[in-house]
C-alpha cells in the first residue's frame, strides 16, 4: 500500500479559476466545489485512502467531456476519471489540485443489436444492467465482478475486470469490441471496431485495463453471449486446503473448463454462513464451488465427470444444486463474502494476487504464517480456476498500529505472489494501493516503457497521475526501504 498521494491543500484561487471556466459550459449542479459537495467523492471502494478533490465535474454529454478535458489540458489541471466508485485499488482517488471527472450521468444504453450480439452503452451503465436489458433476446454480458449490481462498464474497461466465470468466458478485454473516448487533449479517439479486429496495433487491448491513464471512455461496444440453457453447481467439501487445490488441478487435467471454479476456506465459509445461510459445510477446511453450464445433457455429463474427479480427489461431501434457487443460494455466500467480512470485523483489506495454481498450498501456508506473525486474521476466497486469490485481512482502521501491520502483511503476501511466478493484481488493478509493489514485479526497463507509453497518450501526465505506474524516484525510495533478500531490486538507481 504505502502512503497515499501527498496531500495537496486546495488552492482557493486556482479552484475559483477552474470553476469559472467550467461554469461557462456546465451548470451549477454540474460543477461541485464546496467541501460538503465534494466530500462524498473523497474515496472509491478502497476507503483507507481519502482525498477531497478540488472540483468535481458531472458532465452529461460527450461535448462537455471534451471541453472539460481541453480546459484542464490548457490549464495544466490533472483529471481523475471516476465510474461508480466501486474500485478496490484507489484508481479513482481524487487529487486535491485536480478535477474529478464523474461519468455517472452517462447511463444510456445507446443501441442493442441482437442479430450482431452487441450492445453499445455509455460508460456509466451498470454491469448487471447490460445483462438485464438484453435478457429478452436470450443474451447476456459475461464478465461478472462481485460488485456487478453497482459497478459501471466504464470502470470495468478501466480495470479489465473479471469475475467468477472468467476461466471460461474471459475478462473485460475478451468481451469488448470497441471503446470510444477522448485523449487528455480532447481529441476524439476510437479503439477497436464492431468487426472482430481492427487494422494496426491492438490499442483496444492496451486501453482496456489502463486504469484511466490513457483516455477517457465515453462509449463502449460489448459482446453479448447466448445465455446457457442451464447451469448447475457442485459444492464439495475437503478436510484439507491443499487437497482442495489438487482437486482443482485434477478437474482441469481431466479436460474440463468449468463455468466457475471457486474456493473458500473455513474462516471464510463460517463468516458468510452466519450472514447469508448458504448451507455451507462449516466443518470442511475448504469448500469448492464448481459450476457447469450448457444444454441440459451437457450439464449432466459435465457434473457427472466433475463429481467423479472430486470424489477421486478426496472430497468429503458433495452436493449438486437441484434447482436454480439452490444454485443461487450456493453462490450467494461466495458473492457476499466481502460484505460478510464487514460484519465480523470493523475493516477488511482485500488482496488480489494471482499465482500458478500448483503453488496454492505453499502460498496459503505462507498466509497462515503471516496471520500469526502480524496477529491478524485472514480468511481466503479464491477464484481457484484461474489462480486469483482474494485473502481478506481483518483489521480495525481506528487503530493505526493495526493499519500499519495490515499494510506490511499485504506487502509480504504480494511479494510471495511474485516470488512464486504470479502477479500482484489479477483483476482489481494497481491504482494507488499496489503502486510500490509494481517496483518489485517489474524491472526498471519495463517501468520506463510503461512511462513512455503513458507519455505517448498524455505527454503532460495530466490524466489520473500517480496511479498504476510508479515514478523512478518512488521505486528508488521504496527499494531503499524494502531490500529483498539482501538484493536491491533496482541496483542501477541512485539512492538517497
Amino acid at each position: 500500500m504505502g502512503e497515499a498521494l501527498s496531500v495537496t491543500q486546495v488552492n482557493l484561487d486556482r479552484q475559483r479559476a477552474v470553476v469559472a471556466v467550467l461554469r461557462e459550459f456546465l451548470s451549477e449542479e454540474e460543477v461541485l466545489w464546496r467541501e460538503e459537495e465534494t466530500r462524498p467523492y473523497e474515496c472509491d471502494g478502497l476507503t483507507a485512502y481519502r482525498h477531497v478533490p478540488m472540483v468535481v465535474a458531472l458532465p452529461s454529454t460527450e461535448q462537455q467531456v471534451q471541453r472539460i478535458l481541453k480546459t484542464c489540458h490548457a490549464m495544466d489541471v490533472p483529471v481523475v476519471p471516476r465510474g461508480a466508485g466501486t474500485g478496490l485499488s484507489g484508481g479513482a482517488l481524487p487529487l486535491g489540485d485536480g478535477v474529478l471527472l464523474s461519468m455517472a450521468k452517462f447511463m444510456r444504453v445507446v443501441r442493442i443489436d441482437p442479430a450482431a450480439r452487441i450492445a453499445v452503452v455509455q460508460p456509466g451503465v451498470r454491469n448487471a444492467a447490460i445483462s438485464d436489458v438484453v435478457a429478452p433476446f436470450g443474451l447476456y454480458y459475461a464478465p461478472d465482478p462481485s460488485s456487478q449490481i453497482a459497478c459501471s462498464i466504464g470502470g470495468n474497461v478501466a480495470e479489465n475486470s473479471g469475475g467468477v466465470h472468467c476461466l471460461k468466458y474471459g475478462l473485460t478485454v475478451h468481451n469488448v469490441l470497441r471503446v470510444r473516448g477522448y485523449t487528455i487533449d480532447g481529441e476524439p479517439i476510437e479503439f477497436g471496431s464492431e468487426a472482430l479486429d481492427a487494422p494496426g496495433y491492438d490499442l483496444l487491448a492496451l486501453v482496456i485495463g489502463s486504469e484511466g491513464l490513457l483516455a477517457v471512455t465515453t462509449e463502449i461496444t460489448v459482446k453479448l453471449l447466448p445465455r446457457p440453457q442451464q447451469a448447475k453447481v457442485i459444492m464439495a467439501s475437503f478436510d484439507d486446503v491443499e487437497r482442495a487445490g489438487n482437486a482443482v488441478a485434477a478437474i482441469i487435467a481431466a479436460g474440463i473448463v468449468p463455468a466457475g471454479l471457486e474456493m473458500m476456506d473455513k474462516p471464510a465459509t463460517r463468516a458468510v454462513e452466519e450472514f447469508v445461510h448458504a448451507g455451507y459445510d462449516l466443518e470442511a477446511a475448504a469448500i469448492l464451488l464448481c459450476e457447469s453450464d450448457g444444454s441440459p445433457e451437457e450439464v449432466e455429463d459435465e457434473i457427472a465427470r466433475m463429481t467423479q474427479v472430486l470424489e477421486a480427489s478426496g472430497a468429503t461431501r458433495i452436493s449438486v444444486s437441484r434447482n436454480e434457487t439452490e444454485r443461487l443460494r450456493f453462490w450467494s455466500g461466495r458473492k457476499a463474502a466481502f460484505g460478510a467480512m464487514g460484519r465480523i470485523s470493523p475493516d477488511y483489506y482485500c488482496m488480489d494476487g494471482t499465482i500458478p495454481r500448483k503453488r496454492l498450498g505453499e502460498v496459503l501456508n505462507f498466509i497462515a504464517q503471516m496471520e500469526s506473525k502480524y496477529g491478524l486474521r485472514c480468511p481466503n476466497v479464491f477464484h481457484a480456476g484461474d489462480g486469483n486469490l482474494h485473502p481478506l485481512i481483518l483489521f480495525d482502521a481506528n487503530d493505526p498500529a493495526q493499519l500499519a501491520r495490515t499494510e506490511q502483511f499485504a506487502a509480504e503476501v504480494l511479494g510471495k505472489c511474485i516470488e512464486v511466478g504470479g502477479t500482484i493484481t489479477g483483476e482489481h488493478g494497481v491504482g494507488v494501493e499496489k503502486i510500490d509493489q509494481m517496483c518489485v514485479q517489474f524491472g526498471s526497463a519495463e517501468l520506463e516503457v510503461f512511462r513512455a507509453v503513458k507519455r505517448a497518450f498524455d505527454p503532460k501526465g495530466l490524466l489520473n497521475p500517480g496511479k498504476a505506474v510508479p515514478t523512478l524516484s518512488r521505486c528508488a525510495e521504496f527499494g531503499r526501504m524494502h531490500v529483498r533478500a539482501g538484493k536491491l531490486p533496482h541496483p542501477e538507481l541512485p539512492r538517497f
Partner: protein, 354 residues
C-alpha cells in the same frame, strides 16, 4: 539458449547503433503478409524450445523459434490445443512468427483471437533491451497490457523471444453439418445461431454451401445436429475441409486473383462486390478474390464499419491495410518510437510509415 537470446539482443543493439534495418523472421511462411519485408534477416529459429508446459495450469511457455507444429503436437499429446487455430502456412512456421502475425483460424469467432490467449511475452525492443510483460498466469492486470499490443504488430515493436499462452482442452467430439443456402441467408443463419446456446465452433460458407462445425460433448452435438439439420459428416473429410480453410490450401484459395481479407461486423449484409467469396467467423471474416479496384473494396468494407487487407496479390500500391484515422496514426508513430526509436525493426511491414 541464453546465448542465443543474447545474440539476438546484440544484433539489434548493433543495428540500432548503425541504423541498419532488420527483417525479423522465423520460418518465413508469412513473408507474403503485410508490407514488403526489407533489411538484413534476423533469424529467430536458433532460439527454440518449449520452456514450460503444465497441462493442469492451462499454460504453455515457449521460445520464438519453436516450430508451431512441434508446439501443437506437444499440446495434442496432453489433449490440449491452441484454441485460436492459427494458420501455419507451411511446415516451417514458428511460434514467434505466429504471434507477430496475429492471425487466427476457424475457431476464432467462438473461442477468441490469438491475442485473447496471450498471457505474457518476453521481447527484445529496438534498443536491444530484453523486456518482460504479462506473465504465466490467467489473470494479470499489473501494468499496461503490452503483451497483447505486441501480438499482431508484425515485428515492428520488437522481437518476441518467448511467449506464454493460455491453452484449452480439445473438444470431446466434433462433427460437421453442410446446408445449402445462398450468401444472405447463410449470414443471417450464422448470426442467429451464434445468439443461441449451440456448440458451434466454426462456420464457412462458399459456393452456396454453409459448413458448420460443432464441438463439445457428444450429447450436445446430437441435439444441435438434430435442430440445425443438413448433411452430417465427421472424421477425415471434415478435418480436411477445416484444415484447408485454416491453411488456405482449399481450392478456393488457388488462382492468380488478388486475395482480400475483409473484417466486418458479423451481421453485415452481402457487400455485392464482384468475385468469389469464402465467408468465415459467422460473417465476420470474408475472403474475397476479386479484380475490383482497391478503393472500391475498401469503400465497401469501411461503409459497414469494417476494414480490408490485401492478403495475397501483387499490387500493393494502395497500401496493404486500411488506413488509420489521423489520431490513431499519431499514436502508432509514438508507440513505434517508444519501442524502436531508430526505426530499424521490420520497417514498412505494418504500414508504409512504420
Amino acid at each position: 539458449m541464453a546465448e542465443a537470446a543474447e545474440a539476438i539482443a546484440a544484433r539489434i543493439r548493433d543495428a540500432a547503433r548503425d541504423r541498419r534495418p532488420l527483417r525479423l523472421r522465423g520460418g518465413g511462411t508469412k513473408d507474403f503478409y503485410g508490407g514488403a519485408p526489407s533489411g538484413e534477416i534476423l533469424d529467430a529459429r536458433a532460439y527454440s524450445g518449449i520452456v514450460a508446459y503444465e497441462p493442469s495450469e492451462l499454460v504453455v511457455t515457449a521460445r520464438c523459434g519453436t516450430p508451431l507444429a512441434e508446439l501443437e503436437s506437444a499440446l495434442d499429446a496432453s489433449g490440449q490445443m491452441l484454441a485460436f487455430e492459427p494458420p501455419h502456412f507451411g511446415p516451417a512456421a514458428t511460434l514467434g512468427g505466429c504471434i507477430a502475425a496475429g492471425l487466427s483460424g476457424p475457431r476464432r469467432a467462438s473461442a477468441g483471437a490469438l491475442r485473447d490467449f496471450v498471457l505474457g511475452v518476453r521481447v527484445v525492443d529496438g534498443r536491444g533491451q530484453l523486456l518482460s510483460f504479462g506473465g504465466r498466469v490467467m489473470k494479470n492486470v499489473a501494468g499496461y497490457d503490452l503483451s497483447r499490443l505486441v501480438a499482431g504488430s508484425l515485428g515492428t515493436l520488437g522481437m518476441i523471444v518467448e511467449a506464454s499462452l493460455k491453452v484449452l482442452p480439445k473438444p470431446v467430439a466434433e462433427c460437421m453439418l453442410r446446408l445449402e443456402m445462398p450468401e444472405g441467408r447463410a449470414i443471417e443463419a450464422m448470426n442467429r445461431w451464434a445468439g443461441q446456446p449451440l456448440p458451434i465452433s466454426a462456420t464457412a460458407w462458399q459456393g452456396g454451401v454453409l459448413a458448420v462445425r460443432l464441438s463439445g460433448a457428444a450429447s450436445a452435438l446430437r441435439e444441435a445436429a438434430a435442430r440445425l439439420g443438413g448433411e452430417r459428416s465427421e472424421g477425415p473429410s471434415m478435418q480436411a475441409l477445416w484444415q484447408g480453410i485454416r491453411e488456405q490450401t482449399d481450392p478456393f484459395f488457388a488462382g492468380a486473383d488478388p486475395l482480400w481479407r475483409l473484417s466486418l461486423p458479423t451481421a453485415s449484409a452481402p457487400l455485392g462486390l464482384p468475385g468469389a467469396q469464402l465467408i468465415e467467423w459467422n460473417g465476420g471474416l470474408r475472403w474475397l478474390k476479386t479484380s475490383s479496384p482497391a478503393q472500391a473494396v475498401r469503400d465497401a468494407a469501411h461503409g459497414v464499419g469494417g476494414h480490408a487487407t490485401i492478403f495475397r496479390g501483387s499490387d500493393r500500391s494502395a497500401g496493404v491495410f486500411s488506413p488509420l484515422s489521423p489520431a490513431l496514426a499519431r499514436l502508432h508513430r509514438e508507440l513505434k518510437a517508444v519501442f524502436d526509436p531508430a526505426g530499424i525493426l521490420n520497417p514498412g511491414r505494418l504500414d508504409a510509415k512504420s
